[in-house]
Symmetry: C2
Subunit: 366 residues, 2 copies
């Protein structure tokens, strides 16, 4: 009897463990994501960072939520509405989609963002520091959509230009400029949309923490390169557009301080890779270099950069922060003014890069 009872308890525990694993206890404090379309209740997020998706598909055989590389099966109710949850996600912004009987489609509940090489759904998992990009009752700068002529590519190219709140009123003042690049399979809309670059700046300026400056964001992958062949990427087409076409256009059409001392370049991931190549090829153009989640500099590489004021290196704690810190230590030993930053609890995603911009901006043009 005794042995039987022990076995029974053991079996029962095993059964509970299985049930828990298949059906984890989910905290029922879901709220609509801030990345939803106005008035849309789903997708929702709970305090664990789980995403709950929902869609009506009465005649479907299987509907899945596809996020973070995993497909989660949703469950159908009697009305034909499918609902289900993902595992907890890192804080910040993630691209995702729904899969309806094999069709990969955007979720009609979310806003659409350019990333993962396409316009599609994205979701914001709340973090403790969302305040940095909250829309507050402070003066707001403008984000200009511009189309600048490009002889080298024979088209008008699009860029977004953030001008700080004081720009429109202080009509004699001139401003420094940060050129800020997106990542692989993103584009010039990614920093102003999911990156909230303009709101991060508005809030920092309102708090007196950053000097007002202009930010210019354009498309950096004029020549496409396969993901596996990034090391073969030819920087020259983009470098020509940036240095010979965009910078002169910005200097002619905005009230810039148009010298090296007042010009910075930063980028995330592939954009960091581009920033690194451009700044090494043209040490005469920028004075502040920032790489978010994409490479480092060695002291040897920067030894002839006479007008260099700042190197900024960052990544998420779930990337390879030790590499960033080690590189910063080497640069500091070589007396190059370097700041490193690690975003706690995030990986190779946009919240790492928003935080990086938020850390970088107060250091620029001082």
């Amino acid at each position: 009897m005794r042995i039987t009872k022990v076995i029974a308890i053991a079996l029962l525990s095993f059964h509970f463990a299985m049930v828990q694993s298949a059906n984890p206890v989910i905290i029922e404090d879901f709220k609509p994501a801030i990345s939803n379309q106005v008035g849309k209740e789903y997708p929702k997020v709970n305090s664990e960072g789980r995403v709950r998706a929902q869609i009506s598909a009465p005649n479907a055989n299987l509907v899945q939520l596809d996020i973070g590389g995993i497909q989660y099966d949703l469950v159908k109710d009697e009305a034909g509405v499918w609902t289900g949850e993902s595992a907890p996600q890192d804080v910040g912004f993630h691209y995702y989609q729904l899969i309806v009987d094999g069709a990969a489609v955007p979720d009609p509940g979310s806003m659409f963002y350019f990333g993962a090489c396409r316009w599609g759904s994205g979701i914001e998992i709340p973090s403790d520091d969302m305040d940095m990009f909250a829309m507050k009752n402070v003066p707001h700068g403008h984000v200009h959509e511009i189309h600048f002529p490009s002889k080298s590519t024979n088209v008008s190219r699009r860029a977004y230009v953030y001008t700080p709140p004081c720009y429109q009123k202080e009509t004699a003042k001139r401003y420094p400029v940060l050129y800020l690049q997106h990542g692989y399979c993103e584009n010039e809309t990614s920093w102003p949309n999911q990156g909230y670059a303009n709101l991060i700046m508005d809030n920092l300026i309102a708090e007196g923490k950053a000097k007002p400056f202009i930010i210019v964001m354009t498309y950096g992958m004029i020549n496409h390169v396969e993901f596996g062949k990034i090391r073969e990427f030819d920087i020259n087409p983009f470098q020509t557009v940036l240095i010979d076409e965009l910078i002169p256009y910005v200097d002619a059409n905005f009230r810039t301080l148009s010298n090296q001392e007042n010009r910075a370049m930063a980028g995330l991931s592939m954009g960091a890779f581009e920033t690194r190549l451009v700044t090494l090829n043209r040490p005469d153009v920028f004075s502040h270099y920032a790489l978010f989640s994409g490479g480092v500099y060695s002291p040897e590489e920067l030894k002839d950069h006479k007008n260099l004021k700042l190197v900024f290196l960052s990544c998420g704690s779930k990337e390879r922060p030790e590499r960033i810190k080690a590189a910063a230590d080497e640069l500091l030993k070589a007396r190059i003014n370097t700041v490193s930053y690690v975003s706690e609890g995030t990986a190779h995603e946009f919240h790492t890069w928003r935080r990086s911009l938020h850390q970088l901006a107060p250091l620029l043009f001082k």
Copy 2:
């Protein structure tokens, strides 16, 4: 024999007619729509204006293309890819969606536009006059995304402001302003996105056909009203935002000519309804009034509008053009400077309104 032959021919003809009706001869000159995401082959459009949609959905029971209020069944191939065509559509811009086993979803092939009360798919059916909004090698104005303070609604409100190409360089010059409203279930992005207001202006200015002016586009349906109850719409909340908050912000932050003579208001559909109400309530603010597909003025209503320079009335030929023409005749008899315009071959859709703006702009601020 003779009779049998006649019957046989008749039956054959009937059979052909049936086949043709069910499977019309489709002209195989489909091209990717210009409204597609970069690099996406589908949806396509042919010279008849048929839309061909395609999506991979290997496990679906039924996939449909939903456009113009009709659902067209797609056909599945052996690889699980569904393809099919709509009937010919009017030239211009149409909202649409896909339905996968009952799930109404955006087409991942198209760009996304705000209309029909949601961000979703839209498609451009080529017209003979697309040149008016083509991206050409001409100087381009900027579209500023701005966030202006609104005490009456207790939030920062978004607007888009088009500044003409010369605005950035001729830094002493001041400009007239057109306030331009979207329709029901659209928003402040609709005119710059699917309306191409900025490119229409860039091209007209480059051709010397329109005076450079500023265009301001903001959200006009602060207080939502059900579609069936539009006549009960209270204009006051929007009128307060527009007159007491947005116009002062624009005049303080842009180089405007800030008087009635240099201020126009126009709108499409619900935006025309709003334009009509605002201009009748406040005859002291605007001097040029334009209603696109949404109402008319009577001479009696405008008799005290001493500073009125122009009334512009328009609609599509598939709407009620006789009403527009009759109203214009009445206004002209009362010596009110009125221009009417009918967009040939279009209904209550964005191509009617792009053409209306294209006709209106050369008449403004002369």
